[in-house]
């Protein structure tokens, strides 16, 4: 499956006056594209902290102790704030628990929805142009290396031409979209006016029509309105006469005379006809347009014909040659990277041996730098889908090494901490206070585990590269070259795409409709307090979706809402997920909510994932005592017996328990649970749980009656579906 986000060994703490609260302790999970991962746990289990770490909004007193969050070739924990800006809200969006506190009370919601669109658009345009230039330079370099110095002049000319084509296409597209958007805007505005007049609202018809007349004149583009210019002029004239008539009748009342509405509807229909045309492919036309005069370009009967003609022209005069060169360049870059990758693979056994043996920090860092350099050279920069493992290698490895030395036994800092805590405990005990916490022993992280962390990074790169080399034979360079051109096209299009305020408004209204807000045109101008709780949450969702993100993080989005509204919002998120192929991280404490939403579920307790599996695994075959407790502590509609409450409260995370954190409240706890943390035991391929009960030597623990009964009941009710 396609992993979109990988969280590896994440640990987060918070500095407080009493000590460091270990909120998240060494958790790992993957998020697949188009799937929902639910994180379940009670408050303080670290589920919100995990999500906040992903989008980089942890509180100021937080420390990311270790780990990495890989997304699109970046490690989100290590990139700068500027780089994070490009991802936060744009690629990864978040919905918070309380809709009222995430909306600005004194700004109209329309503005709040469009604000991000307008700001992001400007930044995106610059970014796209930069990416375009960088990729083109890289390609040129590779082509010259592949074909030798003598081709340099030709390649330069070709890349100049590509640039020209893209710019020309950009210009044509700009002008076209501008006119197109003007037309769309006018359609919407006319609709607005007629709607308002129909509702007897305050409108100034004559003034509005004068405005429309001016706007209508601006709907002009050599491709869009070539055939409609005459009719547009006609419409303007008709509007003129209507306005005169209306002005002569001294129409100051808020009503719309019939003939005015008729004229406006006429304009609207004309514009709809205009906007219904197929859009020409400007990237194809650009070169044809550059080399020939306009009359010839326009002298075709249909857009399809023009597209076809332009395509053959483009292929004959530019594309074939460019593609053959690009082919060479891509192949060269690929082969070069492949060679280096093989080199890396050769080096890896030595590297592994090095880290398995004795090493000092200085040594290790030098080795890491050396290897990272090699890996950096082994990255195929012309690849469009980035390999996160390779890009983040240096950061991951150096971090693992640092951790290896900072957490080891004999570490001075660690010694000092242990002495300080022991002293404090002794002092309290001497004073006769009952001390509930224990001092964390020095070797929380055994050397073998820390070493394992380093080796994981190395193993990952080896695994990726082995797979890569195995697939090297099947790579189609022609296809890659075409992909490359597509990439240039997409970047150029991004550079063109300009969002105006009115466009943003149209888009916002579409979004509001999508999330189920009625009469979005009037709602657009209202303040947050004029909405009910459910509607507010919908607006927050609309804002989160405005940038069309890849990943949506929902942090208890329905806790503040009641049952019926909750069901609506969940349905909405589910539908949007399907429509937009979103990946969702859904955080909640309510297992009932999760059943509807999740594909995968991670149950968290005291900063650790205690059980991980698909929804079916967790609900029909739970293995961890905490999951049992969660399931049996809430009644469902059939429950009549006494509830199985979890005794006690969660542990103090300043002094996390040495063994299993849940042991104190667990009636199935074994002796080993208090001494050692359980590792993950695999139940099936998709399902794992961290409890010693799954160890082959463990005594058999019975699943609580209340759960077995419930599962039996559910299976009976489910009938055929469960038999599958």
């Amino acid at each position: 499956m396609d992993k979109i986000l990988e969280v590896k060994n994440l640990s987060v703490g918070f500095r407080t006056t009493h000590g460091t609260v270990k909120a998240v302790r060494d958790i790992s999970f993957d998020l697949e594209r188009g799937k929902t991962l639910a994180i379940v746990g009670e408050s303080g289990s670290g589920k919100s902290v995990t999500s906040k770490a992903i989008i980089g909004i942890l509180a100021g007193n937080s420390i990311v102790e270790s780990g990495e969050i890989l997304y699109d070739g970046n490690d989100l924990l290590r990139i700068t704030e500027d780089e994070m800006h490009k991802i936060r809200g744009d690629k990864i969006s978040m919905i918070f628990q309380d809709p009222l506190s995430s909306l600005n009370p004194i700004v109209k919601i329309g503005k709040q929805i469009t604000e991000a669109m307008l700001l992001k658009n400007k930044a995106n345009r610059k970014e796209a142009r930069r990416a375009f230039n960088a990729m083109l330079a890289e390609l040129k370099k590779n082509i010259i290396e592949a074909c030798g110095k003598e081709s340099e002049a030709r390649v330069s000319a070709l890349s100049k031409k590509l640039d020209d084509i893209c710019i020309q296409a950009t210009k044509l597209d700009n002008s076209y979209t501008e006119a197109f958007n003007k037309a769309n805007e006018l359609i919407a505005n006319i609709e607005d006016l007629i709607y308002k007049a129909g509702k007897k609202q305050n409108v100034y018809v004559v003034g509005a029509i004068r405005e429309y007349k001016k706007e209508l004149a601006k709907v002009k583009d050599e491709f869009l309105t070539a055939k409609y210019d005459a009719r547009i002029a006609e419409s303007i004239a008709s509007l003129n006469s209507v306005v005169k008539a209306a002005a002569a009748a001294n129409n100051t009342k808020n009503e719309m005379p019939e003939e005015v509405e008729k004229a406006l509807r006429g304009v609207q229909n004309l514009l709809k006809e205009v906007t219904a045309q197929t859009k020409p492919d400007f990237f194809r036309i650009a070169l044809y347009y550059l080399d020939n005069n306009l009359v010839e370009v326009k002298n075709v009967s249909s857009v399809e014909e023009l597209n076809a003609k332009a395509l053959t022209y483009l292929n004959d005069n530019f594309m074939k040659e460019f593609l053959s060169y690009a082919d060479n360049g891509v192949e060269h870059s690929f082969k070069k990277a492949l060679e280096n990758k093989k080199l890396v693979l050769e080096q890896i056994p030595a590297l592994r041996a090095f880290f398995e043996g004795e090493f000092t920090q200085k040594n290790a860092m030098a080795r890491c730098k050396e290897m990272s350099k090699l890996i950096a050279s082994s990255i195929d920069r012309l690849e469009i889908i980035k390999d996160s493992a390779a890009y983040a290698f240096e950061a991951s490895l150096s971090n693992a090494i640092e951790r290896f030395f900072s957490c080891q036994v004999g570490n001075r800092k660690e010694e000092a901490r242990f002495a300080r805590q022991s002293k404090r405990r002794e002092r309290l005990v001497a004073r006769g206070r009952k001390v509930e916490w224990k001092v964390v022993p020095k070797n929380v992280y055994s050397v073998s585990m820390l070493r394992e962390n380093i080796l994981t990074v190395i193993n990952r790169i080896e695994e990726r590269y082995t797979a890569y080399i195995a697939n090297a034979e099947t790579v189609d360079f022609d296809q890659r070259a075409i992909e490359m051109v597509d990439y240039f096209k997409a970047r150029a299009a991004e550079t063109v795409y300009r969002v105006t305020k009115s466009m943003a408004k149209e888009q916002a209204i579409k979004l509001m409709e999508e999330v189920g807000i009625h009469e979005p045109r009037t709602r657009f101008y209202q303040y947050p307090f004029e909405f009910s709780g459910g509607m507010r949450q919908r607006i927050v969702i609309a804002i989160a979706l405005a940038a069309n993100p890849d990943i949506l993080i929902c942090d208890e989005p329905t806790t503040a809402l009641d049952v019926t509204i909750q069901a609506q919002i969940l349905e909405l998120i589910n539908n949007l997920k399907k429509e937009r192929n979103l990946s969702v991280i859904f955080i909640t404490h309510d297992l009932g909510v999760v059943a509807n939403m999740a594909d995968d579920i991670a149950v968290m307790y005291a900063g650790k994932i205690v059980e991980y599996g698909t929804a079916d695994d967790i609900f029909y075959d739970p293995r961890h005592p905490y999951t049992w407790a969660l399931l049996s502590s809430m009644p469902d509609l059939e429950t009549t017996e006494k509830l199985d409450a979890i005794p006690g409260t969660p542990p103090n995370m300043i002094y996390p328990p040495v063994g299993d954190a849940f042991a104190d409240r667990n009636k199935f706890a074994l002796k080993i649970d208090f001494e050692q943390q359980p590792p993950f035991f695999e139940v099936t391929k998709t399902h794992k749980a961290a409890t010693w009960l799954l160890h082959p030597d463990a005594p058999k623990a019975e699943v609580p009656q209340i759960i077995t009964d419930r599962i039996a009941r559910m299976k009976k009710a489910g009938g055929a579906q469960h038999a599958e």
Binding site: E42, H589, N596, P635, D636, L637, L643, D644, A645, M714
Partner: protein, 400 residues
């Protein structure tokens, strides 16, 4: 479990609570029998909390009456005033329009309503005094009896006199309304951060005139152990406790007054999942040990189903359905109840994927333009807010 013969502890009749133009609660009727748990559900803003608060007289109700242990403790006058106003309007009309006999009737009606207003106002203000008077009289009678019995024992007489004085003092200060106690939703906001747990819990006793410190201490310790805390907790402050323990303190504070009726206003919705079950179990234990009657207000339907004997469903200030909890979940009749039940999330992925949510739109579901709806008993013990047409239809639905 509910029984037909059981005594009605609380009766709410035509309760209306308006805040200016907002009809928070509009014409709600129900009664709670001794020993049962009465659940009140509905979406936020439907008036379930307001109902609870009106019962405990945090608000002065607009109209209707509330009877507790057979005595009217709350009464509103708006409905009578409206009746008088309507009658007066009709009186003003000329003789041709309204015949003289009708006018006589109207005058009588006005006089009657005036009397009712007076009675309501009297009951509203003096229910506690009456209760105190009754208690005092009972004490006096008991005292006289005891005096008669111990005629020859001067020491016992002395002791009796002292006890009588103290008891009379307490009786004079006691109020009927203290027999209704409330547990609030947010355990952090509802406890005074500057008072120790002992002060918080004993406050009710102190206000009621009990001065015997040893007795207070003993009561507090007893109640602390009852709700699952220890004696040592008495000297601490609320911030030293976890959410679940704070809620236990809130419960202790309510239970120490030996109430007959406990109003629990969403007592678990602000708590953690693992703590919620603890509190539900505690309330269940208290109920069986102390014989409490509980009015349980919540929006989590599966908890209400688990905990309650009878359930009332509210929608926009109206009670739309009232039935025993099994009956309500087995045969929901009102379309709003159906939509509410269809929205309950279940811990079963396959069932969830098949779930069909029913939406409720009052304008589509009902046509009340001609035939006005009222609360009707469709089946013994099962009430639905509907009109004639719907009643026939619902009866058909149930196969009656």
């Amino acid at each position: 479990m509910p029984n037909k013969e059981q005594e009605v502890l609380l009766r709410v009749e035509h309760l209306c609570q308006y805040f200016k133009m907002t009809k928070a609660v509009d014409d709600v009727n129900f009664d709670i029998k001794r020993g049962e748990v009465f659940g009140l559900v509905g979406e936020s803003g439907c008036g379930k909390t307001t109902t609870g608060r009106s019962v405990i007289r945090i608000y002065d109700i607009t109209s209707g009456s509330i009877y507790f242990k057979g005595k009217r403790i709350c009464a509103g006058t708006r409905s009578y005033e409206q009746a008088i106003r309507a009658a007066r309007k009709e009186l003003k009309k000329s003789d041709e329009e309204v015949p003289a006999s009708r006018k006589e009737e109207l005058k009588k009606e006005i006089a009657e309503n005036r009397k009712k207003i007076k009675a309501a106002k009297y009951d509203h203000q003096n229910s506690d005094k009456e209760y105190a008077k009754e208690l005092q009289e009972k004490l006096k009678a008991d005292y006289e009896k005891a005096k008669e019995e111990n005629k020859n024992n001067p020491e016992a007489l002395k002791k009796l006199a002292a006890d009588f004085k103290q008891d009379m003092y307490v009786a004079k200060h006691s109020k009927l309304i203290t027999k209704i106690q409330m547990i609030f939703q947010d355990p952090i906001a509802s406890l005074n951060p500057r008072m120790t747990v002992k002060e918080i819990i004993s406050e009710g006793l102190v206000i009621n005139g009990i001065k015997d410190q040893a007795y207070i201490d003993e009561e507090v310790y007893k109640i602390l152990e009852l709700v699952g805390l220890t004696r040592e907790h008495a000297g601490r402050y609320p911030h030293e406790f976890s959410g679940g323990q704070r809620q236990r303190i809130g419960i202790a504070r309510a239970v120490i007054m030996h109430p007959d009726l406990l109003i629990a206003d969403e007592p678990i919705s602000a708590l953690d999942v693992s703590i919620q079950a603890q509190i539900i179990n505690l309330l269940n234990e208290l109920r069986s040990e102390l014989g409490l009657t509980i009015m349980f207000i919540a929006h989590d339907l599966s908890v209400v189903k688990y905990f309650s004997d009878r359930i009332g469903v509210m929608y926009f200030g109206k009670m739309v359905e009232l039935a025993s909890s099994d009956e309500l979940f087995a045969h929901p009749l009102h379309p709003y109840t159906k939509s509410l039940l269809s929205a309950i999330p279940l811990p079963d992925p396959h069932a969830e994927k098949r779930r069909q949510r029913i939406t409720y739109n009052p304008l589509e579901s009902h046509d009340y333009s001609v035939n006005k709806p009222t609360m009707r008993e469709i089946k013994p013990g099962h009430f639905v807010y509907c009109n004639d047409e719907e009643e026939v239809q619902l009866k058909k639905e149930l196969g009656l």
